[in-house]
Amino acid sequence: MILIVNGSSMKLEDGSSIPQVIAALDIPTTKGLAVAVDGTVIPRSEWDTLALRSGMRLEVLRAVQGG
């Protein structure tokens, strides 16, 4: 399936979930991350179980300097 992750296309195997998306982003730690799928925040407790489908738009954010 093809997802749109942080504005870019990402190809993943069907049945993948949010942890596979994060692994593909090659981020050193998952601490302080938050994920929205199609404009809805997904609690960390649902990362493993939420069924991702082709075409879904994911935003994976973390805290940075600002303000």
């Binding site: 982003l25 601490k31 991350l33 994976v60 300097q65 600002g66 303000g67």
Partner: protein, 261 residues
């Protein structure tokens, strides 16, 4: 006993809130943060960058500070609310510095969108600190919605032009029942002191520290400026007068019999 700053049921020893934007390195930011004495530091929420080095959260934590996420960069209430929800999920905090801006050039708050976002986030249990215009009516409306504080700007973000309309800040202060934190526009120490002398409950400083020639020294300067301004407010300034008012007694003046010629 001096009154402490209280926001959302929390008591702060410092009246300076530290904005983390604009530092050239996390190391300099950490030194400045420690020197500032602040107990709360802002962060923004952005897409993850695998190339990013270091963790701002670890730096803030190690300095003994709490994190205050913001919604910087949001132009609509919907975007701001989603960003706040993401921040809550990522950082496990109900606190949010709510920013909804109207355009890129001025970065001035969009009042109507701000009110919509504030109402929704308060309903969702957030402790909302809205960055707002120096508009007494907007500030009152935000307070009525249940915001924990109001954060009027002194002047546009990063402009460093201080408080352009101190009389409006005074009007906000006169009616406010929640803390008033002067946000945006601080250029140097004296701007922060003026804010505190007006009666503001606190000051948020970001660019004035991060973009200073020596951010660590400027952080200390702002710490002292905020403390000094608060002391002056509590001490009570003398009234302004058009003419002089001698402080030495007029009685008992000597009469010198000297020939001026």
């Amino acid at each position: 006993m001096r009154e402490k700053l209280q926001i959302g049921g929390r008591v702060f020893q410092s009246r300076l809130i530290f904005g983390t934007g604009g530092f050239t390195s996390l190391h300099v930011m950490e030194l400045a943060l420690r020197e500032s004495g602040a107990e709360m530091a802002t962060v923004a929420m952005r897409r993850v960058d695998p190339r990013a080095k270091g963790s701002i959260l670890e730096v803030i934590e190690s300095a003994g500070c709490d994190v205050l996420p913001n919604t910087a960069g949001c132009f609509t209430a919907a975007d701001a609310c989603l960003t706040a929800q993401l921040a809550r999920e990522a950082l496990q905090t109900e606190w949010i510095k709510l920013e909804v801006i109207g355009d890129d050039r001025s970065l001035l708050p969009d009042g109507p969108e701000l009110l919509v976002a504030a109402e929704k986030l308060v309903d969702e249990g957030f402790i909302v600190l809205p960055y707002c215009n120096d508009d007494p009516i907007l500030a009152r409306r935000l307070e009525e919605l249940g915001c924990a504080a109001v954060m009027p700007l002194g002047s546009p973000i990063g402009s460093g032009t201080g408080i352009r309309n101190p009389l409006n800040i005074a009007m906000i202060l006169e009616r406010a029942g929640v803390p008033v934190i002067l946000d945006a526009g601080i250029g140097t120490a004296s701007d922060a002191t003026i804010a505190m002398e007006l009666g503001c409950d606190g000051v948020l400083a970001a660019s004035s520290i991060s973009k200073a020639k020596d951010p660590v020294r400027m952080a200390r300067s702002l710490r002292l400026a905020v403390e000094s301004g608060r002391l002056a407010y509590e001490g009570g300034r003398i009234p302004r007068r058009l003419y002089a008012d001698a402080s030495s007694p007029n009685e008992g003046l000597a009469e010198f019999d000297i020939d001026a010629s």
